[in-house]
Structure formats: structure tokens, C-alpha cells
Symmetry: C2
Subunit: 451 residues, 2 copies
């Protein structure tokens, strides 16, 4: 196993469940200090909701080793020799290099954060939040810094979650975002709702603006974020401008990469053209079941599923990962943001003609206490009425409603079929027509009007 986080260690654990140590030797190389941790939990640890780092560790190295998995931390794989079936490793402490042979190889090298090629990008006080080490470094900066001003660059999931974390730490937060609206995984009309809500939370939103540099003090610490129009002072800067598949090793080994730079696999998560090499997690591309195209979606829940499939297959069993529909859910304080399937621009890109319907409804029956407003946008294919995507912005109870659409997308349902869905109803849980059904009804009309 190259990589000791979600995909790699899930694969190791699953293979070990199926084959004992006498049947299968498992060695896992991880270049960092930690394995099997929840990277998705880092913003909540930084924000203080999760009180200590170790809570994010699903299984300790000792636990893995007790189960017969030879996990080697601080050991980086520097080369894959496909022809001879071996990997070269370097011990981060001693610098010693050695070759380890394999019969079966699992590549789970994850993703690397995009670091902008800007002056000051490597200055003290500038942080990514990809690994536990990153999170610890950021917390150290927050503890050291006397200041109260934070700038987050990027307004995707990591950006908005880090905005919440820094608010929870008492910072004045500015988010500088290249896109027209935050959350570019939503259409701009829905992103606009997020924009307004974030401003309502006291976050300064600077949209449609690139960053030109990260000016530093004389001592080399970051002091702000510069854009063409202004400089936003900062005691700490968090970069959340996305990630790319970490596939330099795979590329050097001649393994097949897709348009997004991720490894290409078959449904058994086997690297295409290689019988004994599997790959999963943030370093692979996945099939989007709605568009039929390959995508790169770094997300722990996929990585865990990949690991499960890889471990089963590598141990001689049979399992597949059919693909994704692109579901994601996030929150900023009490604002919940969810999406699944295609945005308008994804549908265009996939050659699909579509209609949209956007509705406002509430999380509970309108007369029930704490019924909170939510907006649901739905895309349906022109003529066939097949569901293409759903986006939801609201408060408590909004986010996980996207699962209804995720299952319907997987099943290839039409919006008309959705209007009959037998969803859970009682006044504390939903209006008598669930918001997703209200959107489906409006989408049905839109399909008919355009037919």
C-alpha cells in the first residue's frame, strides 16, 4: 500500500479480514506522521468542535500492527518499478533508501493542495489544511498569533469550512474567492444564497477576485492578501483553493492518467491495463454516472468505499465501485449546503439539454416550530425528464435531504417518478410535500412546457 490514509488503510484492513497474515503479507508506506485519520475533520478540530487531534484518528498504527498490517510511517515511496514489481522507499528520518518487492500493489497517494505560484505563498502564517500535520501547524500559528484577522483564499468546501472554524476561534474572517460566487460546486444562482448567508454571519466576502500576492512583514511572516484592487490584512492566511491528484509517482511509472491527472481504473479499482495494481481515494478519477464522464472528486467517503473494494479484490474476492453521482454536503455555521448530480455547466459540457426548477420550502411543516426556509434547485433532462441534479441551500434539515436525489439519480429516475416518492412525513420532519418533491413537481411542469 502506498499511502496510509482512508483508501490505503481501508484496503489493508479489508484484505486482512479476508486473508490471514499467513496467507497475505501487507506492508503500508505512509510518508507522514499519521495514518487512518479523517482529513475531513480537520476544520472542526481547528475550529475547536473536536477537542483533540487524536479523536480524528480512526485506528492507531499500533492497532493496525496488532492486526498484522506492517504500517511504516515517515516512509516515502519514491519510485514504482512496475516491470520488476517493486517500490523504492526512503526513510524520512535516516534518509535511507531501499527496494521492497510486491505481488500486488495498491496506490493510495491522495491529493496535493494547489499552492499558488505567488510571492509569499510559502511564508510563515500561510497554511493549507490537507493533513493532520497541516492542521497542527495552523493551530500552532493561531496559538502564537496575537492577531484576530484571518483571510481564507478560496470558497469551496475547505474554504467555507475554514471560515466557520476561524469564526469559532474568534477571528474576523475575510474570504477571497476567484469565482463569481462562493461554492463553485453550485450554480451561481445558488452560490449567491451562500454568499448572502455568509455575509449574514459576519464574514467579509470578496468574490470574483484573484490573489496577486501574499505580502510579508520584515520577519517573513504573512501580513495580508493582495488582490489587484486591495490588500486584506491578515494574521493568518488559509489556502483552500482545491487539490489535484497526487500522481507524480504513478506518472513516472507510466501508469494511465486521465484528463484531471488522476489514475484511471476499471470498476474493480484496478489500474487500467495492470492486473496486479489497484488505486483508490483522492488519487483516482471516478466515473460520473450522470454525465458518463470521468471526474476527480476527493472525498473521504469515496476513498473508504474504494479501499473496501480494493481490499476485497486484492484478497481474491469480488467487489466493484460503480461510480458516483457527485453528492456533497457542507455547512458554514448553521447554513447547510448540498448538491448532487450535474450543475448547469456540467450538463452543457455533457451534451445534455435540460430544464431547471427552483423552489422555496421549509424543513418542517410551516406551522411547526423552527421550520426553516430552504431553496431547492433541480435540473431535469429535456424531453425525458430524467433527473440530472439537485442543489439545496438552507438551515437545519436541508443538507441531508440531498440523499433523496442522490438515490434517485443512481436509479435513473425521472422527475415525474420522483413526485410519487413515499418520503417520511410528519410535521416535525417535513411539510406534507417534502421540499424535494415540491421541486420535482415544478420540474415536471418545466419539462412539459418545453417538450
Amino acid at each position: 500500500m502506498i499511502g496510509g490514509d482512508a483508501a490505503g488503510m481501508s484496503a489493508a484492513s479489508q484484505a486482512r479480514r479476508l486473508k490471514g497474515p499467513d496467507e497475505l503479507e501487507i506492508v503500508a508506506f505512509e510518508r507522514g506522521h499519521f495514518a487512518s485519520y479523517s482529513a475531513c475533520g480537520i476544520p472542526y478540530w481547528v475550529g475547536g468542535d473536536v477537542p483533540e487531534r487524536d479523536r480524528l484518528i480512526a485506528r492507531t498504527p499500533e492497532e493496525h500492527r496488532a492486526r498484522g498490517i506492517d504500517l511504516r510511517l515517515r516512509t516515502e515511496v519514491t519510485e514504482i518499478d512496475v516491470d520488476r514489481g517493486r517500490v523504492r522507499t526512503r526513510d524520512a528520518g535516516s534518509g535511507a533508501e531501499s527496494w521492497t518487492p510486491y505481488d500486488k500493489l495498491v496506490i493510495a497517494t491522495g491529493a496535493r493542495p494547489i499552492r499558488p505560484d505567488l510571492p509569499g505563498a510559502d511564508a510563515a502564517g500561510v497554511h493549507g489544511v490537507q493533513t493532520l500535520d497541516d492542521g497542527q501547524a495552523l493551530l500552532d500559528t493561531l496559538a502564537r498569533s496575537g492577531g484576530r484577522r484571518a483571510v481564507v483564499v478560496g470558497a469551496g468546501y475547505i474554504g467555507v469550512e475554514m471560515a466557520e472554524a476561524l469564526i469559532n476561534r474568534g477571528y474576523q474572517v475575510t474570504v477571497v474567492n476567484r469565482g463569481r460566487e462562493p461554492m463553485s460546486t453550485l450554480d451561481p444562482d445558488m452560490g449567491r444564497l451562500v454568499h448572502r448567508a455568509m455575509e449574514g454571519l459576519g464574514i467579509t466576502m470578496v468574490n470574483g477576485t484573484g490573489v496577486t500576492g501574499l505580502p510579508t512583514d520584515d520577519d517573513g511572516r504573512v501580513r495580508g492578501v493582495a488582490t489587484p484592487a486591495a490588500e486584506y490584512p491578515a494574521d493568518v492566511v488559509v489556502l483552500g483553493i482545491g487539490v489535484r491528484p497526487q500522481t507524480s509517482l504513478a506518472r513516472a511509472a507510466g501508469l494511465p492518467l486521465g484528463d484531471h491527472g488522476g489514475l484511471l481504473t476499471d470498476r474493480a479499482m484496478r489500474v487500467r491495463g495492470h492486473e496486479n495494481i489497484w488505486a483508490g481515494g483522492d488519487c483516482v478519477e471516478v466515473l460520473d454516472l450522470v454525465s458518463g464522464q470521468q471526474r476527480h472528486i476527493p472525498l473521504g467517503t469515496h476513498a473508504n468505499k474504494h479501499g473496501q473494494v480494493i481490499g476485497t479484490n486484492a484478497a481474491g474476492g469480488y467487489a466493484t465501485f460503480p461510480g458516483v453521482v457527485g453528492t456533497a454536503v457542507s455547512k458554514v455555521c448553521d447554513l447547510e449546503i448540498a448538491r448532487t448530480g450535474l450543475r448547469e455547466k456540467d450538463a452543457h459540457r455533457a451534451g445534455l439539454r435540460f430544464v431547471t426548477a427552483t423552489i422555496e420550502s421549509t424543513s418542517r411543516a410551516g406551522y411547526y416550530p423552527d421550520a426553516s426556509p430552504m431553496t431547492v434547485k433541480m435540473l431535469a433532462e429535456h424531453r425525458t425528464g430524467r433527473l440530472l441534479g439537485v442543489q439545496i441551500v438552507g438551515r437545519e434539515g436541508a443538507g441531508k435531504r440531498v440523499d433523496i436525489a442522490a438515490v434517485a439519480l443512481t436509479a435513473g429516475m425521472t422527475v415525474e417518478q420522483m413526485t410519487s416518492l413515499d418520503l417520511g412525513y410528519a410535521p416535525p420532519f417535513s411539510p406534507v410535500w417534502d421540499p424535494v418533491l415540491v421541486a420535482a413537481r415544478k420540474a415536471v411542469k418545466a419539462v412539459r412546457q418545453r417538450a
Copy 2:
């Protein structure tokens, strides 16, 4: 329209949307004082969560009339004359009777609560909660009664919701229930979790016990609930022992009724064998898409869908109601209870062999604050692995997760297909494997082991 609540008035409204008053005359007869109200909201009004009755009224009689629907309250239909296409009505005030002819008839007579044939069942202080009038009568009793002891007879949805309502009103609540466990819409092993949780809320649970009588004081007011073993003192008694389709009119008119006493319709909600008569809501039986059998499921969300379909068809359009999967969700204080599909005994009755899997998980990532435990039970068909049913008992975030299973049931998914579902994941919303997926994974193993 016979009946002015959810199904009837939805049908009227939808028909009016499609046909103007010059094209279609719509007369709706309702024997009570109210139309278009949320019967499902009554427990929350009684409990004080909903401050006033009128909040439960979705559309006032004046609003209906302004849209050209001739709604006649306090007017009971006493006979349907199918051969001559007319109904006989009686004005509740004057007692005057008259005949009204129809070209198209919609029967939406709802359900009637089961009143036990017991001494004292009609005594003062004994209440059902079927209509707004019932809710008002109960509130009047609560206001008048100096006491603090309430007994609820029955532990289905109405029973548990009324237990919550009475706790919220400051009563000591005893629930007397014939079944082995509360919530007989769950399997007893899951009902047992509800039982314990209700006791944890301070509710006295008396299960496996029939009621022999409702003893009264000298002034004729109820003073308790008698069982073979004991008498439970009560200042107020609420009956929540279920409902039956209100189909005496339909039966007298020779219309087709099913085994549960509900009207039988086709998918367009047309009464079988009658071109110009539709029926919907709590007075009809519906097709259970999982078992293939007819069921009676009185629930506002179905009634609204039926009304929508009936109104469309009666106005010359086309719509169908394909059936239900039996989804229901409820709560008692902070306990959430949900189910969809078949229980073990339903599966037996339908001739299905199955496996079960029960798991414990949490509503959020385990390290995230307020992650609350939930139990998920899943039934899957032997050999095919087709999902048959899901039951969930937990706290916040548990109930609406049943929608995932409701959509999967509708799509005919197997539990193995479900393990790949791309559900919304982020630490505040779900563990990395959603509890429903954890259950699906365990069900997959159970299917394989038994195959």
C-alpha cells in the same frame, strides 16, 4: 367532492387549476366545521408547539370559495346514488335534506377512529384526536381538568405523539398498549428500543395489556383506564388505537371495497369499475410496491398526492399514483422513529424469505459534537438481496434517513447496490459510512451467508 380535507380539497384545487369555473363546477361537501387542515398537526397543537388552531388550516373556506370552489361546511352526504349520478346531503344545522347531481364524483371521506366497545368509552374526558373538533374538545378538557394524570390508549403514531403532547402540557403520562412493544409498525426488537426510550422520558409504559373498561365518576367523567390487572387513574384519556376507512357510504352504494375496508381504485385513483368516480386519502387502499399487496395507510402525504392525481384526471389530464412503500416517521420528544417497506411479519405474509441486519451507528462522525446513536434494521430478500425494509430508531438526524431506503425500495435496489450509494458526507452530517450504508453492508453479508 365528498369530504373537505387533504384529498378532497387537493383534488378540488388541482381541478380548478386546470379548468376554470366556466368549464367545471366544483362542489365540496364537508360535514365538519373545518376544511383543508392538517390532521397530522393536531398533536402539536394540543401539546402547545403550535400556538393556535388556525395555523393548521392550509386554506380557509373563503380562499377556496374565492377560487370558485363551492365548499359547503357542516353538510353531510348521506347517500350516493350511483345509478342516477347524485348524492343526498343533510345540512347539519337545519337537518334539511336535498339531492345534488354530479357528472364526476370524488370520494374523500377519510377514516374513522376505532372506538372500543367498552363501558365508559363515550364518557366525558375520553378523547380521540382525528379532527380539529376533536382536538378542540381535548384542549377544552385539559383546560377544565384540574388533574395532572393522563392515560393514552394505544402506542402507534397517534399514541406516541399524544404522549409527547401531554408531557409537554405537564401531565404524568401512562401509555396502555395491547402490543408486546409500542409502535407495532416496527418489529418488536425495534419497538423495544422505543419502549425503553419512552420510559427514559418518564412515560409509564404498560404493554401487552388490553383495556377492559373506562371507569367513570358519579358525574359521568372518566376517572381511569381499567385493564385485567390494574386500574390506571386518569383525569383525561386519549384513544389512539387506530382508524378504519370511512366507507359506509361507499359500501351502501355498492362500490368495491378491499380486505381492509377501503375503496379499491386503479392507478388513476378511479374507483374500480366506475368511469366517473374517484377516491383518495384515508378512505382508500393503496398498493404496497414491496409486497404487491393492498394496504390501508392513512397519512396526509398520501392524501395530498391522491388529491393531486384525482384533480388532474377529473379535469381531463393524466396522472397516476403508483403506490407506496410504507414510509413513516414520527417522534416522541427527542426520540425519532422511522420505518419503510416490510416488517418481518409483512415479509412472511407476502411469501418472501429474507435476512435481517441490525447495526448501531451515529448521526454524525463519531468525533463531531452531538453525534447521537441510532439503530438501523434492514431486511433483504433471501438470495436476490433486494431491499425489503428499513427501520430506524435514534435521536436528531435519524428519522429522515429513512428516505434513502424509501427511494431505494421504489427503485428495487439490492442491498449490495446500496453499499455504493453516493450519499452526502461531511463530519457534521454523517459518519464516513452513513448508518444506512453500514446496515446495507451487514445485510450483504447476511444474504451471502445464507445463500
